[in-house]
């Protein structure tokens, strides 16, 4: 067991994956267990950052940096603004008044994880060709995005525009 662990950790990619996944899981657990809202957001920012690191080790450099910019940058800041706009008076979340609900939920989540883990362990996924070369990753994504996926790309830009205009309209103070 220990030999296998040491053998697993002796490879560079495995070591990086181990460290990043440990940080990601710790951030998620802290997000669940901390009591102050701002601390929860910071813990989840740590998870987002380490997931960006995992993407980069998977050869997806562009998506990794987009993850750092959008999630660890923009969405975290947006959440903090949301917290600031909706003042939390008591701040510390009160103890859960519904132990049955939370207990059943914990059991359900663990059962779901068990099913997923069983399926993942039993699946045999064999690549039919070698992994793509991560060199010029950004160039290849750009070419695909403006050739093969140009219509989804444009629809996505329309969706973003509509969503942000809608957000401004919803959040605007009604003057009357």
């Amino acid at each position: 067991m220990l030999d296998r662990l040491i053998g697993f950790l002796s490879s560079g990619e495995n070591l990086v994956f181990f460290v990043f996944s440990l940080v990601a899981i710790c951030g998620a657990i802290f997000m669940i267990s901390l009591t102050r809202v701002v601390h929860m957001v910071m813990a989840l920012a740590l998870t987002f950052l380490s997931l960006g690191g995992i993407y980069i080790t998977l050869g997806a450099e562009f998506v990794g940096w987009v993850q750092v910019l959008i999630y660890a940058g923009a969405i975290t800041i947006l959440m903090i603004f949301g917290i600031m706009m909706t003042r939390h008076r008591g701040e510390a979340e009160t103890e859960p008044q519904r132990p049955w609900h939370n207990g059943l939920l914990l059991v359900g989540a663990i059962v779901l994880f068990g099913i997923l883990f069983y399926v993942i362990q039993n699946a045999t996924i064999t690549p039919q060709s070698a992994p793509v070369d991560p060199k010029d990753n950004t160039l290849q994504i750009g070419q695909l995005l403006f050739n093969q996926y140009v219509i989804p790309f444009e629809i996505m830009s329309v969706l973003l525009t509509v969503a942000f205009i809608g957000a401004i309209v919803v959040a605007k103070r009604e003057e009357d």
Partner: protein
């Protein structure tokens, strides 16, 4: 390195996000947990793009679209929360039951 550790990590993150989304009472934390679940899906997509049956860049492009949709979703969600706080004075999801009465 095979695909299994990545899928397992994504399953762990998804289950933690599911638990947080259904058990937390603060609506902002519920939104954050949904983001965590979306991130687990992105990790699956990128892992399959490298180690899946047909390696390619399609998984990475799908995850980019996914990140865009997540950004739009969180912007609209925060706007609704701010407006709801202005009208009702609460961010507790158990108090948001006007349509249930």
């Amino acid at each position: 390195m095979s695909i299994t550790p990545y899928l397992t990590l994504a399953a762990i993150l998804f289950c933690i996000g599911l638990y947080g989304a259904l058990s937390k009472k603060n609506a902002i934390i519920v939104l954050l947990s949904i983001e965590l679940m979306l991130n687990a899906v992105n990790l699956n997509l990128i892992a399959f793009a490298k180690y899946g049956p047909k390696p390619g860049l399609a998984g990475q492009i799908f995850s980019l679209f996914n990140i865009t949709v997540a950004a739009a979703e969180v912007a609209v969600g925060i706007a609704i929360l701010i407006n709801l706080y202005r009208n009702r004075g609460t961010t507790d999801v158990t108090d948001m039951d006007t349509m249930k009465r």
